[in-house]
């Protein structure tokens, strides 16, 4: 686990445990940092921010929009998660979309995800966290690195 206290973090997600490593739980960014739901407001549909469970009261939506997390695919393409990605993960409101209009479109978020379509930090991956607004958030299982500090070795025999 690590409390994010710096603007930039490069780290490994997932550590060993006494059970042999199976105890690594993905960190659900959608649930723990924040997301949006679509609500009725008269004749309109409006997006409403839902603060994540790991976020302290003192931080608001704008603060959390400063968090950007990314990793790379095997082909070298970046995959990025941020609160703005969550905000945009809805079908549009055009009539042509029919029943789909204003409903969640989780496929628009291209990131490591769970079966529910929530964005997650998945075990056994490295991520970069950019924390533009200095939001302190605890991410269990994330171990930061720093140049010149030996933070440990990877046990490549334990995978999910």
């Amino acid at each position: 686990m690590a409390i994010i206290t710096t603007k930039y973090s490069i780290g490994w997600f997932g550590t060993t445990n006494e059970a042999g490593g199976d105890g690594c739980d993905p960190f659900n960014l959608t649930e723990q940092i924040g997301t949006y739901i679509m609500k009725d407001s008269g004749d309109q549909k409006v997006k409403e921010f839902v603060k994540g469970n790991s976020i302290r009261d003192e931080y608001d939506e704008d603060d959390l929009k400063g968090i950007v997390i990314f990793g790379y695919t095997a082909a070298g393409a970046p995959q990025i998660w941020s609160l703005e990605k969550e905000e945009n993960a809805f079908w549009g409101n055009l009539a042509i979309l029919g029943d789909k209009a204003n409903t969640p479109n989780r496929s628009s978020i291209v990131f490591t995800k769970n079966v529910d379509g929530d964005a997650i930090l998945a075990c056994g991956r490295m991520y970069v966290i950019i924390n533009n607004n200095n939001v302190e958030v605890d991410i269990p299982g994330f171990i930061p690195s720093a140049d010149g500090v030996d933070m440990g070795r990877i046990d490549t025999t334990i995978t999910g």
């Binding site: 206290t5 490069i10 490994w12 006494e18 990793g71 790379y72 500090v149 933070m151 995978t159």
Partner: protein, 305 residues
């Protein structure tokens, strides 16, 4: 060995099953364009391999460090673990404990942060009152300070060299004394000569193959169970460097290399001793003298009875 094919990837140096050396970047100047690391002060820093010949800060990729690598040609680089989002590449066995707990008036659970000071991570207490635990290189002590990372405020000192063990005390602020609990620590003694630096305090930081890993104060020595016996080594988790084993499932059994078969040449004729540092508050263990006789969790592997 990591085969680097993508133009951009993330890498960690290195895996637990082989000896890791720092990587001299200039040797890869024709394949690696640049490498981005996070500095200890919290910034990003770009290393250009071609500049490594005359800029010390750009010369190496160090073991136990993560970075973003930008590649121009395919390359095979030993000692690296490649990470990409589609694949679970394993679990980190950290050299520093992720969190620890203290008791006391304002004690609580301290969690590792992404900030570093004097080459070691800073810990922050979870809760209403901010306490930080950080390493002071001048005194070689771990300091617990209230509200900020400084000795200009109320602070406590730990006489021990690992943050998760011992008492944080300052006579001027004795009402804030905090005592670490639930630690798993041992002391190595009796080693001499060129391996005398392996003596000292070791505390558990993590697990390797479901057994506890103990790390020395300077993160230079490790105690791990290889599935058959306990091994003291400076090259986790291998015997490719300096190593000494006790040929026993009992952590506190003598580490006797009089025969020359139980260790590397550096440990020839050495007989090391390991003793438990006792039962911390909150532990479900019992002891007989210096020997563990009962442990209910991972410590079971180090029981002698």
């Amino acid at each position: 060995m990591a085969k680097i094919e993508a133009s951009t990837c993330m890498i960690w140096g290195g895996s637990a099953d082989s000896k890791i050396d720092r990587i001299e970047l200039i040797n890869y100047k024709n394949s690696i364009k640049s490498v981005i690391v996070r500095t200890k002060s919290g910034n990003l820093f770009t290393k250009f391999p071609a500049f490594g010949a005359f800029n010390a800060a750009m010369k190496y990729l160090e073991p136990g460090t993560g970075s973003i690598l930008f590649n121009s040609n395919d390359s095979d680089i030993e000692d690296l673990v490649l990470s990409h989002v589609q694949k679970d590449a394993g679990r980190l066995v950290p050299n520093f404990i992720e969190s620890f707990t203290t008791t006391g008036a304002e004690g609580g659970r301290y969690v590792i942060t992404t900030s570093f000071k004097n080459d070691k991570p800073i810990y922050k207490k979870v809760g209403d009152v901010d306490w930080y635990v950080w390493y002071e290189s001048e005194t070689e002590k771990w300091i617990a300070s209230r509200a900020e990372i400084s000795k200009d405020v109320k602070y406590l000192e730990n006489e021990n060299c690992l943050p998760q063990y011992g008492e944080y005390f300052n006579e001027s602020f004795s009402e804030y004394t905090q005592t670490a609990i639930n630690w798993e620590c041992v002391e190595v003694t009796e080693l001499a000569g060129g391996v005398a630096d392996a003596n000292g305090l070791y505390c558990q930081t993590a697990f390797y193959k479901s057994n506890p890993v103990y790390v020395s104060c300077d993160e230079a020595w490790f105690l791990f169970f290889d599935g058959v016996q306990w091994v003291l080594t400076d090259t986790p988790f291998t015997r490719e460097g300096r190593w000494l084993t006790n040929s026993s499932k009992n952590l506190t059994e003598l580490y006797n290399n009089s025969s020359g078969n139980n260790g590397s040449g550096d440990f020839l004729n050495q007989i090391g001793k390991i003793r438990s540092l006792g039962i911390p508050e909150g532990s479900i263990r019992s002891e007989d003298g210096e020997t563990f006789v009962f442990g209910e969790d991972a410590s079971t592997s180090i029981t002698s009875e």
